[in-house]
Amino acid sequence: MTAVGTDQRQQLAYVATQAADARLNVEIETEGMTLNIGPQHPATHGTLRLVARLDGEQVVEAEPIMGYLHRGYEKLADVRTYPQVTTLINRIDWLGSFANEVPFILAAEQLMEVEAPPRAAWIRTILFELSRLANISLFLGDMGMQLGAITPVFFAFRDREFVLNQIEAVTGGRFHPNFDRIGGLKDDLPKGWIDETRGVMVKMRNFCDELEDLLLGNEIFEARTRGVGVIPADVALSYGLSGANLRASGVDWDMRRDNPCGLVHDQLDWKVWTHPDGDSFARYWVRLQETREATHMIEQMLDGLPGGPVMAKVPVIIKVPAGEAYVATENPLGVMGYYVVSKGDLGPFRVKIRSASFNNISVTPWVMRGVYVPDVITILASLYFILGDIDR
């Protein structure tokens, strides 16, 4: 017995040393590995390529590589007229297209010193918030899919369709409305639209409740998002993060409340949601609350919609007086602004497009240092970018 016992002990000791050596060897001999994520990974919402240098399961360095979708809108805007530019900028954030047009039109209106009639401003704000629903509802479902839950994304596509139908009923375009005009809107709302939209708002709130049930209490979802990709407020500000990403870091700032240039958010009763944690969960949570808030906003606007024309008196051929203007609004993805320089021509002299995702994604090399590979996907999903909004 003793001999066997000794053998057993020896064997165990041997195995233990081997294992220790093996561990040691693994730690010593691991070479850095480079992992290419994308350009066609589902987590990239388009064609973002992420080159991650790994040490085992940890990311040492991650670098996004853009440009696969660069369309040169700033250069193209140099040779187009003002009404033609909206066709281009519709394609920047293609999930909430109408919201892209608004700051550009507001900047042009500021230069021309025309103001849209009240009804146009209200309908603009309604469509602006509908774009937010169309955009963020996809995020709410998609984030679940990135973390392995397929159901939310089906719900998102199902319910987003109702919002798109409403946008289509007004503008004629599901994805690229091109509906905003300098001085107002192309058309008024169709008959019966207001009642239908009220019904859709109820559906969207149910959708939010469903997702809250499905994901927020879910153990896996919490484990994979809580404490992952924490961005402190000062870092978020110095990188120019905006929108829900910034509010999830505890910064109470929303252009809709603080700089309501031209839109009517200041006449509504709503609140800005923030979360102190700054992690992926907080970003999801803030967006979920904002979606609900947007449905309430739209309902208030449907109730208080003023009458009157939807178009101010503007010349048929639009020449914008010389000058410079910068107008930014709180778009679904964050702050989007247009710096428009005019020389009194038919078209702008220079347009600088400040898109939200470009700044939001520029923080990835900072936030991904030292995270584990599965968290890369969580962070990318929770920062929520649209490639068209990065590459422009």
Partner: protein, 219 residues
């Protein structure tokens, strides 16, 4: 969850100084802190503030805006080429080699300027809810300026974009290379003398949109 949210949608604007007075105050504080590096400013009533500084005071201006004015939010950074386009606005292929149009005089925008290239950066204060745009002239022979990465790390990608689009060199930038364009791309597309080749090859059909409607005599 009340502590997580804020409901103060209306600000007590009456009690505080009017925005334009605060903009004046901002400009004065920047001028104080920069001394000779400060050139001029321009305020559009009720809307915005433009400031122009010397090239050497570029990073100082950003630091002062962040620390003295509370502009913690880095909005964006870019450049602007004030050269009137030698191809005209339409850039259509009516002729193969267009005569260069008579050069219009270069006219810089708000807060003035003397040079063809200007840097532009936009900063924002989330506590005062005001932003400002800072410009700096770049002399033609030496298109370079100090990097802002030390002040705002988010300037990194914006500077890379300005580098490839305008050919502006950022001193001390750790990683100045193309961000959108392929590495071997030649030229700086957003310069006004860089032709838009798609338009040179084929006239754009959308040009009819700017013609008068039938019956419309004049705008």
């Amino acid at each position: 969850m009340t502590q997580l949210s804020s409901t103060d949608t209306d600000t007590s604007a009456e009690a505080e100084p009017q925005p334009d007075e605060r903009r004046e105050a901002w400009a004065a504080r920047l001028a104080d802190s920069l001394g000779n590096g400060y050139a001029e400013h321009h305020i559009i009533g009720g809307s915005d503030l433009w400031v122009r500084v010397a090239r050497d005071s570029w990073t100082d201006a950003a630091t002062a805006a962040r620390d003295l004015l509370g502009c913690q939010f880095f909005d964006w950074l870019s450049a602007i080429d004030w050269l009137p386009s030698p191809f005209g606005r339409d850039m259509d292929a009516q002729e193969d080699n267009p005569e260069p149009k008579a050069a219009d005089p270069m006219e810089q925008g708000h807060a003035g300027g003397e040079t063809r290239f200007q840097m532009v950066m936009r900063l924002y204060s989330i506590t005062e809810h005001m932003g400002l745009t800072i410009k700096a002239d770049l002399p033609d022979g030496d298109l370079s300026i100090d990097t802002l990465i030390g002040v705002y790390p988010g300037a990194d990608w914006h500077e890379r974009e300005a580098w490839e689009m305008f050919g502006i060199h950022f001193n001390n930038h750790p990683d100045l290379r193309n961000i959108y364009l392929p590495g071997e791309f030649e030229g700086n597309p957003l310069r006004k003398d860089f032709p838009l080749l798609a338009r040179r090859v084929k006239p754009w059909p959308g040009i009819v949109d700017v013609e008068l409607f039938p019956g419309e005599e004049d705008s």
